[in-house]
């Protein structure tokens, strides 16, 4: 069961990451980046690393996406 979860989440993350990189609009790529963060949190949890999962959730996905959104705000959404 665990192997199947890992495989499916990895495939999901790879698709979302590739979409995030190749997006035209920056706002979309930031939102897709949050998806990658979410997937990696679930993966860390299945790897029996709760501390790392909590850190990735709060810092790796939470605050990093906030920082990107603030950058987007200051850099002008049209960029």
């Amino acid at each position: 069961m665990m192997g199947f979860i890992i495989l499916s989440i990895f495939i999901g993350i790879i698709i979302v990451a590739f979409a995030s990189i190749t997006q035209k609009k920056i706002a979309d790529s930031i939102i897709l980046f949050m998806g990658v963060g979410l997937g990696s949190v679930i993966l860390f949890f299945t790897f029996k690393a709760p501390d790392v999962a909590l850190t990735e959730a709060v810092i790796g996905t939470g605050i990093s996406s906030l920082i990107f959104l603030m950058a987007l705000k200051h850099l002008g959404v049209k960029a």
Binding site: D51, L54, V58, G62, I63, L66, I67, A71, K73, G76
Partner: protein, 235 residues
């Protein structure tokens, strides 16, 4: 060369170069996936049994590799110093968007819950997953909610800076006391017997350091968040 074709070649060459690089790394990695090796972790787990802290990761982060965490606090301190240097322009930018009613009421309800959860994660860092870093950032996200919901909320600058300075100085002083008492920087000079393994006050200086780290990270992250939101002219 037309821009379209130039863009195409640059993406293709980027694609090819990174593909070659990663394929070589991949086949090297796939050939020798190591089976279970006796890593340093096992001895650390035995050693941790004597420290009386339930969460082994916290012992490793704060005590066994405490110097990395001190370096980590230095990294965050310099980053927040650099960000305030960069974005601290005198023209305070007005958030034009008038935050709507829903955001205001929701943040009033959510703020205490987030703060409670952040403080819980910080204080119970050595018993359950979590700790100083995660607790501090959760508190900073609570402060962020306030910053967004009402425009003229301003983080009490003097109090935060004093808190941050107090936490940083006490962290280094604990390290220096360890140096004096045990002749080992960041040594665990408080008693940490195994009897009260699961209790709140177990593990000597480990929970104290992690709460200090939480205070420092919380105050620094709220300053960073405030600088990112408020300072600088809005486009």
């Amino acid at each position: 060369m037309s821009l379209k074709r130039e863009l195409l070649t640059s993406t293709l060459s980027g694609f090819a170069l990174s593909a070659v690089l990663v394929l070589t790394i991949l086949n090297i990695l796939l050939q020798n996936i190591p089976d279970a090796i006796t890593s340093a972790g096992d001895e650390l787990l035995k050693l941790n049994a004597t420290e009386g802290v339930a969460n082994a990761v916290t012992t490793v982060v704060v005590y066994f590799r405490g110097f990395d965490t001190l370096g980590e606090i230095a990294v965050l301190f310099i980053a927040s110093l650099g960000i305030s240097l960069m974005l601290h322009s005198n023209t305070q930018c007005e958030i034009k968007a008038e935050s709507n009613f829903m955001l205001k009421t929701a943040s009033k309800i959510l703020f205490p819950i987030i703060m409670l959860f952040g403080i819980y994660v910080m204080i119970y860092g050595h018993l359950s997953p979590g700790g100083g870093f995660q607790g501090g950032v959760i508190i900073a996200s609570g402060v962020l909610l306030l910053l967004i919901s009402d425009k003229n909320f301003e983080v009490p600058h003097a109090m935060i800076v004093a808190l941050e300075a107090f936490a940083g100085v006490s962290y280094v002083l604990i390290g220096l006391i360890g140096l004096l008492v045990l002749d080992k920087f960041l040594g665990n000079f408080l008693p940490s017997d195994i009897s009260n393994m699961g209790l709140l006050f177990s593990g000597g200086i480990i929970p104290i350091i992690y709460i200090i780290v939480g205070i420092k990270v919380g105050s620094e992250m709220s300053l960073i968040v405030q600088n990112l939101i408020k300072r600088g002219e809005n486009v």
